[in-house]
Amino acid sequence: MPEFTVPKTDTKSFVGPVTLTYAFKLEAVFDAMREEKTPRGARTFQQIASGVISGPKLSGKVYPYSGSDLGFLRPDRVEDLNLRFMINTDDGEWIYVNHSGYHRRADGYYRVAATFDAERSGAHFWLNDTTVLATAEASKDGRRVVFTYYEVG
């Protein structure tokens, strides 16, 4: 292993501040989830049927069946989320959304980081390079999920 001596700096006491501001929410409806055992664990298959986005920073609809959660249910019963779909905004734009995060089956902890591709020249350009987190609440059957999104400042 190459050697490296960490230089003495006066920056170790620096604590970078992070703020969270509510941006919008998504009320999503999914089809039933299927799980298929693979050599690496269980791949999940759950299509997004519909969804409504509302809030101060974004309004629109999930383009029906524009994607799925193709996640990975680990042996410790934590799902690594891999959810992608398209949003059709109320002002007529298209936005691609990708979610990564965790849905713990044991305690219901469901937190994701979302990334977006929006038109550079459109009203939602800010989503392209903004860090967005969401907290999610799933119904017992997992078919209805409410995502609440926060802009990281």
């Binding site: 960490v6 230089p7 700096t9 969270l20 501001t21 509510y22 937190r111 800010w126 987190l133 926060y150």
Partner: protein
């Protein structure tokens, strides 16, 4: 902003306690670093400072590919805070930033000797006023003549020169044992560039 300034100050004293080499009691006290709560809606999201990572850099190699890939290896660094202490493995990984933003892969080694993988994803953008338009995409590089060297070493600007906003959503693979919680917890990070020497301080918060 008052809350943030307060958490900054308290968080900094937590750093000092952890750096002092702390007993379990001190670690527990530092563990009570203040919770930052979202504004604007219910349910609120809450985050709490978990640890910080310093990473020191020396070289940068830019490839004028479609995604304008930049290779920035980690020479090493430190990990400290209420929930993790250790070091950054020298040359254990690098940032391979491209068109989609930062995409760094580093190896950390905790104080108990265990290795932890971090995939540090996120965005580093010039600070801009709310509502301001993003900068135009960079001009395509001039065509390269065959045989012309493609490696261009260049200095990343210090924050004092170009105000940068760096926010991250790191994902960890931590081994079974005391650090396993990191593999099932979402994090959000703040990155700050420093020079003399060239390094970045990452402040990582666990999402509660």
């Amino acid at each position: 902003m008052e809350l943030d300034r307060r958490s900054l100050i308290i968080g900094a004293s937590g750093v000092a306690a952890a750096a002092a080499g702390g007993s379990a009691a001190e670690a527990a006290a530092a563990n009570a670093s203040p919770i930052v709560t979202s504004t604007g809606a219910s349910p609120a999201m809450r985050i709490r400072w978990a640890f910080s990572v310093s990473i020191f850099f020396k070289e940068r190699i830019r490839i004028t590919s479609n995604s304008r890939r930049v290779f920035v290896p980690a020479m090493g660094g430190d990990v400290w805070g209420p929930r993790l202490n250790g070091k950054v493995v020298p040359y254990g990984g690098a940032d391979y930033a491209g068109g989609q933003g930062l995409d760094a892969h580093y190896a950390l080694q905790a104080d108990n000797g265990q290795m932890i993988y971090i995939n540090n994803r996120g965005f580093m953008t010039p600070q801009r006023a709310p509502g301001a338009l993003p900068p135009p995409p960079p001009a395509p590089p001039p065509p390269r003549k065959p045989g012309e060297p493609i490696n261009q070493s260049f200095e990343a600007p210090a924050d004092s020169q170009v105000p940068l906003k760096m926010r991250l959503t790191p994902f960890f693979d931590a081994p079974n044992g005391p650090h396993a919680w990191m593999s099932r917890t979402l994090f959000v990070g703040h990155g700050q560039r420093f020079q003399g020497p060239d390094h970045t301080i990452f402040t990582y918060y666990e999402v509660l």
